[in-house]
Symmetry: C2
Subunit: 340 residues, 2 copies
């Protein structure tokens, strides 16, 4: 295989499952994975959108058991390694072992950007299982760069081969990505990666800035298939990097064909930047907040955007959904004070 | 009105007409223009996608006469100025006078990047009519920066108040935009503008780079509505600039609402980056070449992408569609030579 300057992990079969309500079938995964493998994509992630064990009423039930989907992908890939995502607390060490047992070769252990310490056990197990192991720092826009470095160093110390800056809300601006990747490259001895979302139409720009600053691992999703407004569109990324003489060793025409002929027909509706995904990126909050904010807005006769923006300012994190009503109530009360 | 750092011209009612086969109705234009005006968009362009007089079998027939659409937009705008696009050779001085007569206040005179001299008469007439006048250098990726400057200076000498770098094929990379805008800012005394397309998912990145380098006029299209993969998505651009403390004086919430509630329902299919638009951006060729390349590919048993990329390398321009068969024939012949 040709040398690669940048290794792309394709996430349409994981992050992309958000876009189709976790409804992937074995046939779909088989066809997509086979085509991606033939296009020489090095890593293909297959899991529930929220990682191993994510299939639940809370996160959305998968139509097909993810282990069956992983097996299907493994069985058709001649050169690509299958990756799995695992969020400690949602997925377990048992899930990880099962995935490794059926052929997954890369483990991406994901935590909130301030909670790297919960990845320790899972990173160690993944390494013991002989998997290439990635630490995945989600919602990376929520902390200053110093904090991000501290957390990344924890993941490195647990044995991660790569640490990713994950812009889960699609909220980072290019200069912020630049600062973060540059600092990580200086502070770490392992690979640095970047995972972008397109809520502010900046996924491509941010990915290019990350590569310029030395990230050698980046994520893409064919036809933009991912949560929110989707991820960096893989076939477009491969085209742009080719124009910049940066080698991915991925077959450009085959990637274009996978996107057009195999992935696009899976979608009920093309990915685009809607009001909902735009507001999430602008406010920098979790997508799970949208529904709660809409309900709270109705109760207090507010615009849900005001609530989401305030939640972003207060850096409210996932699991603190109770606070949404409090924040809404505060805004409503302040308005009444001003209007009397 | 608040001071603006950057003036956005909304092109969904002009470039966007490509995306809906030039089928705008008076009701649609009235509703969109009114909402954009209420959101404080300073300039709203209304014309056939290929500019005044573009309604034809060759460029696509408009459902409604564009002068009626311009009148409708003018009648509902309290603060926004209505702009018209004119490509000399397609539109005439007569068209321009008629548009000015019914209330258009800005004229954008567009030529191929090497043909600024054909804009002389139209720029002069627009100025005499009291219109704010923009020179629009299309397919700006096709020439080196020195040539671009030479052509821009011509437009400045004719009286243009602003000269735009127009990335018609969505082919420019951010460092190329940076170089071009920086050079124009140094060479010109008038405003510099940028019009991007999203074929390589770089419309937002390129627009931000242009603004960083001093462009004060940029184009956006609500919900990405434009030719190819569409333009820089206006409501997203306004959000990003707001996050960067760059003032557009546009009401962010209202822009989000126009996009979601008024423009999105007009589209049969959301805008996305398809194989076709991606190839055009990657090759840097005219969208009109796509159909011809597909036909030539069939005739010579080639991949149309190879033909388009070769056309891009040879810098073939619009009007030279005859050359597409020659280029295809050459490629086919070379392949035969190699295979014998």
């Amino acid at each position: 295989m040709n040398k690669r300057d940048v290794y792309i992990t394709e996430v349409a079969l994981r992050d992309g499952s958000h876009a189709i309500n976790h409804s992937y079938t074995i046939d779909q995964v088989t066809e997509v994975a086979k085509a991606l493998d033939e296009a020489h994509v090095p890593f293909i992630e297959v899991s529930h959108g929220d990682g191993l064990g994510g299939s639940s009423l809370q996160y959305g039930l998968s139509t097909t058991n993810e282990m069956e989907l992983i097996s299907a992908a493994v069985s058709v890939c001649k050169q690509a390694d299958i990756a799995v995502l695992l969020l400690p607390g949602i997925g377990t060490v048992g899930d990880l072992k099962e995935a490794a047992n059926i052929g997954a070769r890369m483990a991406r252990i994901a935590t909130h950007v301030t909670e790297a310490d919960v990845s320790k056990q899972h990173i160690k197990v993944a390494k013991e299982l002989g998997m290439e192991t990635v630490g995945f720092l989600m919602m990376a826009h929520m902390v200053p760069t110093e904090k991000l470095i501290e957390q990344a160093k924890l993941m490195e110390s647990y044995g991660a081969d790569t640490v990713y800056v994950v812009d889960s809300a699609g909220a980072l601006l290019p200069h912020q990505v630049k600062e973060r990747i540059r600092a990580l490259r200086e502070a770490l001895n392992v690979n640095v990666g970047f995972h972008g979302h397109n809520n502010l139409s900046l996924a491509m720009a941010n990915t290019l800035v990350a590569i310029e600053e030395g990230a050698t691992r980046v994520d893409g999703s064919v036809r933009c298939l991912g949560a929110g407004a989707g991820n960096t569109q893989t076939e477009v990324l491969v085209s742009v990097l080719d124009r910049m003489n940066i080698t991915t060793a991925i077959d450009l025409y085959k990637m274009m064909d996978v996107a057009e002929d195999i992935v696009a027909p899976i979608l009920d509706q093309p990915q685009e930047i809607t009001k909902g995904s735009l507001v999430l990126g602008y406010a920098g909050v979790y997508s799970s907040f949208l529904l709660h904010a809409n309900r709270a807005a109705q109760k207090f006769n507010l615009d849900p955007r005001d609530i989401l923006i305030e939640l972003g300012k207060q850096k409210v994190v996932g699991g603190q959904e109770d606070m949404i009503l409090d924040v809404a109530s505060d805004i409503a009360q302040k308005r009444m004070t001003f209007s009397t």
